[in-house]
């Protein structure tokens, strides 16, 4: 029995070995990603186009499940010495990847040592800011970045006599009151990704810190601060709005979207990358507006911050593989590829050239509202509070925040009490990260 087992496994190993050697006619670059459905098809197409454009390298995209599954499998594969060349990691995993010195090659180093054109200035600062070190060096290549915007149901706003979505939270309160009082909709506003939109982006736009040490960019000893900023009043405002129907909680992730599709809520704050989905699901005329700012806190809003994912390169690749990855990144950053990806998916273009090309092609004129996101993130120089977040264990921290927000919106905790609890539990996770990365 044992001998049979050994022989079989030996046979399988040999078969796999010969398969691997026959497939390596040219250098194969593996790219693990988390883009399912239509986006996955587009990823396949980008890779195929790159492969057709030259014959030294073959980029092979592999779909590995959702973001956390992709990250977990990449880490497990790295530990077993079988990691991919390129892996797509979501923005909240950034600090974990950065902390893994010796496991990754920073993109700026990769591009420097390879023979390709690379101009860090060509990229949009609000996008790359999330993925650069304090000295301004790019650590990973942004791939799919989005930012939250406000979607509105034109018909319901018309019925309520609201002409446009106001720019401030204060004026928005009045507008939502009209929506509910006129009976146009039973709910004024809902939000997807509660922590990302209502705390992380609220803090950035209104120039208040989310965490100390420039939101973690200046050191792993950063601690959460949103329980002592106007963010508390903002969450308190939402709980009050909840009572008269101006706001309704719709769950984590994208779970709130049906409330908007069904016409229950007149407004929804959500990712700019949801545009295509909304277009498909909403059988009414909808518009896109920027996220409001808090007139009690700032006079002029900052840029909003991004979400999405970037591409990381594992260390230990030989020179040919490194060169291949660099050439692929150069291709991926080209205005044509970026403009196409941006227009197809609703994700932000990562370079100014791609945004300009999209405008020149007339896309923004044909699809009104698709340029709101790019205007919003390029609005002024990013400040310390709007560069992004660089916090370790952010995946769990966001989970903690979402849980506490649920306690607040269900009435089990007050806004201050719930956010205090989120900060103290979140800081526990930050301390853990700090002590593991000294």
């Amino acid at each position: 029995m044992q001998r049979a087992f050994l022989l079989t496994s030996l046979g399988i190993t040999l078969a796999l070995g010969s398969y691997a050697s026959s497939a390596q006619a040219n250098t194969e670059i593996t790219w693990w990603h988390a883009m399912g459905g239509a986006l996955g098809d587009k990823v396949e197409q980008i890779a195929a186009d790159f492969n057709a454009s030259q014959d030294t390298y073959t980029v092979k995209p592999v779909f590995k499940g959702n973001y956390s599954e992709t990250m977990t499998s990449a880490i497990a594969a790295f530990r077993a010495d079988k990691g991919p060349d390129i892996v797509q990691i979501y923005e909240v995993g950034t600090a974990t990847m950065m902390g893994a010195k010796g496991a990754i090659v920073p993109v700026y180093k990769l591009m420097e040592s390879a023979d390709v054109d690379f101009d860090p200035q060509a990229y949009l600062p609000a996008v790359t800011g999330y993925y650069t070190d304090p000295d301004g060096n790019m650590l990973s290549l942004p791939f799919n970045s989005s930012t939250p915007v406000t979607y509105y149901n034109r018909k319901l706003l018309e019925q309520a006599g609201v002409e446009e979505v106001p720019r401030t939270w204060q004026a928005l309160g009045d507008a939502l009151e009209k929506v509910v009082d006129s009976g146009a909709a039973s709910c004024g506003l809902t939000t997807t990704w509660p922590s990302w939109v209502m705390l992380e982006n609220y803090s950035a736009i209104n120039d208040v810190p989310f965490a100390s040490q420039a939101n973690g960019f200046e050191g792993t000893d950063a601690r959460l601060q949103f329980n002592s900023t106007p963010a508390v009043d903002h969450i308190e405002r939402l709980t009050q709005w909840q009572e008269d129907g101006r706001f309704a909680y719709g769950g984590r992730f994208d779970d709130a979207a049906p409330k908007f599709y069904s016409g229950e809520c007149a407004l929804m704050m959500g990712s700019s990358a949801s545009y295509a989905n909304i277009k498909e699901n909403a059988d009414f005329d909808f518009g896109v507006a920027p996220l409001p700012y808090d007139a009690d806190v700032v006079e002029k809003p900052n840029n909003s911050i991004i979400g999405g994912a970037s591409l990381w390169v594992f260390d230990g690749l030989d020179d040919t593989h490194q060169q291949g990855v660099a050439e692929f990144f150069e291709y991926l950053s080209s205005p044509e590829v970026q403009a196409d990806w941006h227009q197809y998916s609703g994700y932000l273009p990562i370079t100014q050239a791609a945004a300009d090309l999209t405008r020149k092609q007339g896309f923004y004129a044909d699809h009104p509202g698709t340029d709101v996101a790019i205007k919003q993130i390029t609005d002024g120089e990013p400040t310390e509070n709007s560069k992004g977040l660089r916090l370790g264990n952010m995946v769990q921290i966001r989970d903690v925040i979402n849980g506490e927000l649920e306690e607040i919106f269900s009435g089990d905790a007050g806004a201050q009490e719930g956010l205090d609890e989120a900060v103290s539990r979140g800081n526990g996770l930050l301390e853990k990260f700090e002590s593991a990365h000294q």
């Binding site: 977990t72 530990r79 893994a100 010796g102 769950g251 769990q396 979402n402 919106f409």
Partner: protein, 277 residues
Amino acid sequence: MAPQLGIVLVFFFWPALQAIEQAFYVEDAFGLSREFAGLANFEAVLSDATYYQALGTTLVFSLAVALGAMSIALLLAVMADRVIRGARVYRTLLVWPYAVAPAVAGVLWLFLFDPTLGLISSLLGNVGIDWDHKLNGAQALALVIMASVWKQMSYNFVFFLAALQALPKSLLEAAAIDRAGPWRRFWTIIFPLLSPTSFFLLVMNSVYAFFETFGTIDTVTSGGPGGATTTLVYKVYQDGFVGQDMGSSAAQSVLLMALVGGLTWFQFRYVERKVQY
């Protein structure tokens, strides 16, 4: 050595030993640095309030799932046992849910109870119950219990039905002649005779509720709202797979292993005494 034993060694004992080892180390996600931590992981877990919340949730959840799935299955089995016409059709339909994957079962229930689009939630709204399991922890827990019970019911049904059909008919007929009604016959004869099956199912259902309901919870509530449906095994997944905190996650699985082992021992030691073979 029997090949089955080899499989158990490779797929159970080896990973279990690795989990025990891992529980005593603090390690970064990539395995680049690894430090012996003694009992620090266990101390951190046992001083974490959310761990006790998950423990409480798990106990309520497991008890409700095991009792719910077994009592409904028994009721259905007794009724199906009496059906003469179309018995096969009923039985097939009742066994059907077992073939549904836990994640799919979760999605089905999610559709029915979606606060905005769900059929049942809108019916509940008509009678004045405001269903929102995305905010209401008790409703969320009730929903995952219902989905898990529905899924496990079929398994129990098959065993109960087989046990019922194996009961000696002469005993029941003799009791009927002595003018014992159906209710009395059930409680004094059928129920005690079913006790070996019931005991087996109690153990199986506890294990099911502890471990195999992961898919249902993940698709229906992802452990929310506010941790209201985070069971121990779901927390192991959240901390280990999503959060990449290997040490804590391993310590939690060791504790969970001890807990389930202890529970099974308790069941064999005390509940089995009441079983009549």
